[in-house]
């Protein structure tokens, strides 16, 4: 279970560029839950994922995964528990290493790396079998530099790398946003299949309303660094893209009004 308690983060504090990206966010996610995170640009949804992944340390609050308090752990240490796929297909793989080498490195995520051979006997067959399960026809390209593959292919392999050792939490940060529609659809399907097969706990940030309503068992909407909507169960299943668009429209309209005025109006009329 992931627990995010009272987490705040301000970037460039005390300067004109000050951005309060996360404001006292509280969220707890049950094991095996697949949470879709949506929100407007700059709403803090990616920042929330990065706070969990440890890209930066939060200003206040606690982040706990299972029994472990991760708040003060550096990024690479948290990676022992957390698998990640990034928005940029180039971020998750080492381009000059071969497909097999990239996956072999992922097979030791969070483990000690010694002076044993990276690809001992049998490793190639195991890796090949994993790649074959993706169903993208990449099993014959084990010895190609991964940089020679397309964005969609690299993203599929990154997904495999993030889940080849079962992570306690899988973080997907708009991992289909940079792909063409067909590849995006293919990757999100594979994602859903792997999450279901392994019973993973996952958070997926997306811009696609279609993905948001189709996938996951819970939906969280963020706005101005806070969670403004949290739907699960039957409510999540009934959700249609139009409902979400309407929510976004409401948020946009309330943004037109000064927050202090909005608060006053709410107290007087609601």
């Amino acid at each position: 279970m992931l627990e995010i308690q009272g987490v705040s983060k301000t970037f460039h504090a005390g300067t004109v560029n000050e951005v309060r990206s996360l404001r006292d966010v509280n969220l707890s996610i049950d094991d095996g839950s697949f949470v879709v995170v949506i929100g407007t640009n700059g709403s803090g949804k990616s920042t929330l994922l990065n706070a969990v992944a440890g890209t930066f340390f939060v200003d206040t609050g606690v982040i706990r995964l299972g029994e472990t308090d991760l708040t003060s752990w550096p990024e690479h240490r948290r990676a022992a528990l957390i698998g990640r796929v990034f928005q940029n297909p180039f971020s998750g793989t080492a381009p000059n290493l071969t497909v097999a080498e990239n996956l072999a490195l992922a097979e030791r995520r969070g483990l000690r790396r010694g002076i044993g051979r990276l690809l001992p006997g049998g490793a190639r067959e195991r890796i090949q079998a994993g790649i074959k399960e993706l169903g993208m026809g990449l099993e014959g390209r084990l010895d190609n530099a991964i940089g020679s593959l397309s964005g969609g292919q690299r993203q599929a392999l990154t997904l495999l790398m993030a889940t080849t050792l079962r992570p306690q939490l899988l973080l997907l940060d708009e991992h289909t946003a940079a792909l063409d529609p067909r590849s995006a659809d293919q990757i999100v399907r594979i994602t859903d299949r792997i999450i279901a097969r392994d019973g993973l706990t996952a958070m997926m940030v997306t811009h696609s309303m279609q993905q948001a309503v189709t996938y996951g068992d819970r939906l969280v909407m963020m706005h101005r660094g806070q969670v403004v909507l949290d739907l699960r169960g039957a409510e999540k299943r009934r959700l249609r893209p139009e409902d979400l668009l309407q929510r976004f429209e409401e948020l946009r309209r309330s943004d037109l009004v000064d927050p202090a005025v909005a608060d006053m109006l709410r107290r007087r009329y609601v």
Partner: protein
């Protein structure tokens, strides 16, 4: 013939330097100025210890370790204290200048009668040589010492190359290559990229210092100035090697660095024979590296423009 063999010998010794630069510059994409100090550091430690009565193996190993420490220091400055990589290298290089002077006690320290590897090789070559110290090679007389120097240096460079190839295909070695490629990825896979960069720079400078230690034993002295321009020299070797092998495969790149070093030394020897002023050597080397780095882009553009022009016509 002796010009040729001499160039091949020094080229093979400096191949270790090229391998060191390959590790920092190509694997980690880190322009590591520390190398200029580590060459001298390796030479200074080796010669000072040999003069002090230690045996060549101990002296050379100590020189290599000293280089590793210098590289690790640059790595710590860069990864822990977030200094720009170039600046971290320059700081350590500058500090090493004083340290090297302290180790040597003066700006030029000759090996004198102290035994170095060169003496061992000299003893071996004497057994095969004629009375005047020459052997017959392809029908011509050649210095036996130069010949054996080259053979041993080339074998050693080949051995180091093989070990590096093995190392960079281990779990930790591959993680280092991945770090140079994409540090974000290796962090997401649970490894400390700062540590891997530091270890990589230590390895790189260990090789560079080893090259310095062997070079000093080869030429019979350590000199405070011997490191100047060595980074660019190593880069030139690496670049020549890449175009020689024309492959992106890791093993070929390693072999390319060795061949590039030998060929570059050979070119320099020929150019000097043809009347190149030794004072201009570093200028020419720098120009060469500049052209080698810049030209491929311009050639591509030119080709595209020519092709475009042809299409318009």
């Amino acid at each position: 013939m002796s010009l040729l063999l001499g160039a091949l010998g020094i080229g093979s010794v400096l191949a270790l330097l090229a391998l060191g630069i390959f590790v920092s510059f190509r694997i980690f994409a880190f322009p590591d100025m520390t190398a200029e100090g580590s060459v001298t550091l390796g030479a200074a430690v080796a010669v000072a210890m040999l003069v002090g009565g230690h045996d060549p193996v101990t002296a050379t190993v100590a020189a290599t370790v000293a280089g590793a420490l210098a590289g690790a220091l640059t790595g710590v400055l860069h990864t822990r204290f977030r200094l720009n990589g170039l600046l971290a290298g320059i700081l350590v290089m500058t500090a090493l200048y004083s340290i090297n002077l302290h180790i040597m006690g003066r700006s030029n320290l000759p090996l004198g009668d102290a035994p170095g590897f060169a003496r061992w090789i000299g003893n071996i070559s004497a057994r095969f040589a004629d009375a005047d110290g020459s052997v017959e090679l392809f029908g011509r007389a050649a210095s036996a010492l130069d010949l054996f120097m080259f053979v041993f240096a080339a074998l050693f460079a080949g051995l180091v190359c093989g070990l590096l190839h093995l190392f960079f295909h281990t779990e930790i070695g591959a993680a280092m290559r991945a770090t140079g490629d994409n540090p974000q990825m290796i962090r997401a896979l649970g490894s400390n990229d700062g540590f891997l960069i530091t270890a990589g720079l230590a390895l790189s400078n260990a090789l560079v210092a080893l090259a310095g230690a062997l070079l000093a034993q080869y030429q019979g002295f350590a000199d405070l100035q011997m490191g100047i321009g060595m980074l660019v020299w190593g880069l030139a070797s690496v670049i020549i090697g890449e175009s020689l092998t024309g492959s992106n495969k890791f093993g070929y790149l390693l072999i390319g660095a060795i061949l590039g070093s030998v060929l570059f030394r050979l070119l320099v020897a020929v150019a000097l024979r043809w009347g190149l002023d030794p004072a201009d050597l570093k200028l020419v080397t720098a120009l060469f590296v500049l052209i080698a780095l810049v030209a491929p882009g311009y050639v591509g553009k030119l080709r595209a423009r020519l092709a475009g022009g042809a299409a318009h016509a």
